[in-house]
């Protein structure tokens, strides 16, 4: 059967493709600033938000959104206050998972439902949820497009950007907030534990072959979207879990790109060697 004829597949494809195309755009700034685990840390906080939402009977999306935005602001404050980046992330990371589990266990029958958000369930999405994912992704895309130049300046060299008069503190906070938005946008389609992979893996793949920052961004976004479509279709035909399939396709892209780069670089070295010998 044609998977596109199934409504649940169409919903999954729209949500996963949009969020996986946008996540690497934010990921380029996070990876460049060597804070690749920020998404992971905020994912754990979103887990606490989902648990709290189940406990009080609210929407998991709003629970996760409120909690991650608060945590993003707190993380920014801790890091600007001199706490080492990995230590502040660890505090957020462990605090989030502990609170999430506490809230989930208190919510009675909601434990399994809360745990389901860790790996996502794109095939169960309603159109309203798809619309929320698309809206969050478009908001993130708009922020990245509008603030692209100052964000690049801060990501490449924060001290020089400050000296040049770029409001670095506000931009770093904005960056952490849009990471939070991507995490919440991707939690139902890929899961809280896997969405951060789509902020990092496509960027790592694109960086193997791109020669510019903009090129890395565009290519990473394409790899993210392509991984979402391919992963979902593979999951459908192989009866596998969709989130895991998407991330594994992205990792396969990274391995392919790294192989291409190694091959090109080996050929260039051997051509250079031949020229040197012939001279």
């Amino acid at each position: 059967m044609d998977p596109l004829s199934l409504e649940f597949m169409r919903k999954a494809l729209v949500a996963a493709t949009v969020v996986c195309a946008v996540a690497p755009l934010v990921g380029t700034f996070v990876v460049q600033r060597q804070q690749s685990l920020t998404g992971d840390g905020l994912g754990h906080v979103a887990f606490a938000g989902v648990g709290l939402a189940f406990l009080v009977g609210a929407s998991p999306l709003f629970g996760a959104l409120a909690m991650t935005l608060l945590a993003a602001a707190a993380l920014h404050r801790m890091q600007r206050g001199g706490l080492a980046g990995d230590l502040s992330l660890a505090l957020v990371f462990y605090g989030g998972i502990a609170l999430g589990y506490l809230f989930a266990s208190r919510s009675g029958g909601g434990v399994n439902a809360v745990l389901g958000f860790l790996f996502g369930s794109p095939l169960d999405l309603q159109w309203a949820e798809v619309a929320a994912v698309v809206a969050l992704s478009l908001l993130v895309l708009a922020v990245v497009v509008v603030l692209y130049r100052p964000l690049v300046a801060v990501a490449f060299d924060e001290a020089a950007a400050r000296v040049a008069g770029v409001p670095a503190d506000g931009l770093v906070l904005t960056l952490t907030l849009i990471v939070a938005l991507v995490v919440v946008g991707g939690m139902s389609a890929l899961g809280l534990l896997l969405i951060s992979a789509m902020m990092v893996v496509p960027v790592a793949a694109a960086a193997q072959v791109a020669t510019s920052y903009r090129g890395t961004m565009v290519l990473a976004s394409g790899i993210g979207a392509g991984s979402a479509v391919t992963g979902l279709l593979l999951a459908y035909h192989a009866d596998a879990t969709p989130g895991a399939s998407i991330v594994l396709v992205a990792i396969a892209c990274y391995l392919a790109a790294a192989t291409v780069r190694a091959t090109v670089s080996r050929r260039a070295d051997s051509a250079r060697w031949s020229r040197t010998v012939s001279q």
Partner: protein, 258 residues
């Protein structure tokens, strides 16, 4: 004696420490427009702290840092200040082209929502030409040699036509040819364009013959550099700084006026 040239960078009895560890005590210095002042000192002496204070990246515990006569905390004309960090700043995790790095120098002047004009794009071309990296515009900075990377960082600092240029260890890991290009560029900037240069380094070879004055950060003080025993490449000692030994025993004012 006071220089008639406008002062680009001034430290007025600046004291700073990290926690309870004092780094600078009552430090004074002046860099006038069109002058080249080198600051030397051993590792950990406080050179980089001095630089960060001068650029507003740190706040002094006491005293005042002024840029073009204005306290650094309220200074807003940042495009008139160019900063060239150590080459390690070019160690990018992702590919970023030479053109993108140089353009990033415009980010402060353009503001959050501004877009580069045709004139800005011409300026990017001009500075990359000037520093001999125009043909590398589309290359990722990480694939360039140390000297080329340093020139790209200098081009980024020059793209806003700064009146004050602050360089941090610009010759570290840079080969002789690239040092020579850097020297020529700095000579041109000071002599022709009247840029004030503050050059922080532990390696006197980079500024020997260029500096109007060489200062040393020593035990938290900024003093005229010691003689050739300490810095054999410095050549003859610069004319002594205008001496002003305050009655309260604080450090003398040292002025980069040549």
């Amino acid at each position: 004696m006071t220089s008639r040239r406008p002062v680009a960078l001034e430290f007025d009895h600046v004291t700073f420490g990290y926690g309870r560890t004092p780094v600078l005590r009552e430090a004074c210095l002046r860099v006038a427009q069109g002058r080249f002042v080198a600051v030397v000192g051993a590792n950990g002496s406080g050179k980089t702290t001095l630089l960060k204070l001068g650029l507003g990246l740190l706040r002094p515990a006491a005293g005042t840092v002024r840029l073009f006569g204005q306290p650094v905390q309220t200074f807003r004309d940042w495009p008139s200040v160019g900063y060239v960090p150590q080459r390690a700043a070019a160690a990018s995790a992702l590919p970023i082209s030479v053109e993108e790095v140089v353009r990033s120098g415009l980010a402060g002047r353009l503001g959050l929502l501004g877009r580069p004009s045709a004139e800005d794009r011409d300026r990017v071309e001009h500075v990359t030409d000037l520093l001999g990296v125009a043909t590398l515009r589309r290359s990722p900075i990480t694939r360039l040699s140390g000297g080329q990377q340093q020139r790209v960082l200098l081009a980024r600092a020059l793209v806003t036509r700064p009146r004050l240029l602050v360089l941090d260890e610009p010759t570290t890991g840079v080969d002789a040819g690239a040092r020579s290009v850097l020297r020529e560029s700095l000579e041109h900037l000071v002599a022709v364009e009247g840029v004030a240069v503050t050059y922080i380094s532990h390696d006197p070879e980079g500024f020997s013959g260029l500096a109007d004055q060489v200062l040393e950060v020593c035990a938290g003080r900024v003093i005229p550099a010691r003689d050739d025993h300490e810095h054999p490449h410095l050549g003859p000692a610069e004319p002594s700084a205008p001496a002003r030994t305050p009655a309260d025993g604080t450090q003398q004012l040292t002025e980069g006026q040549g």
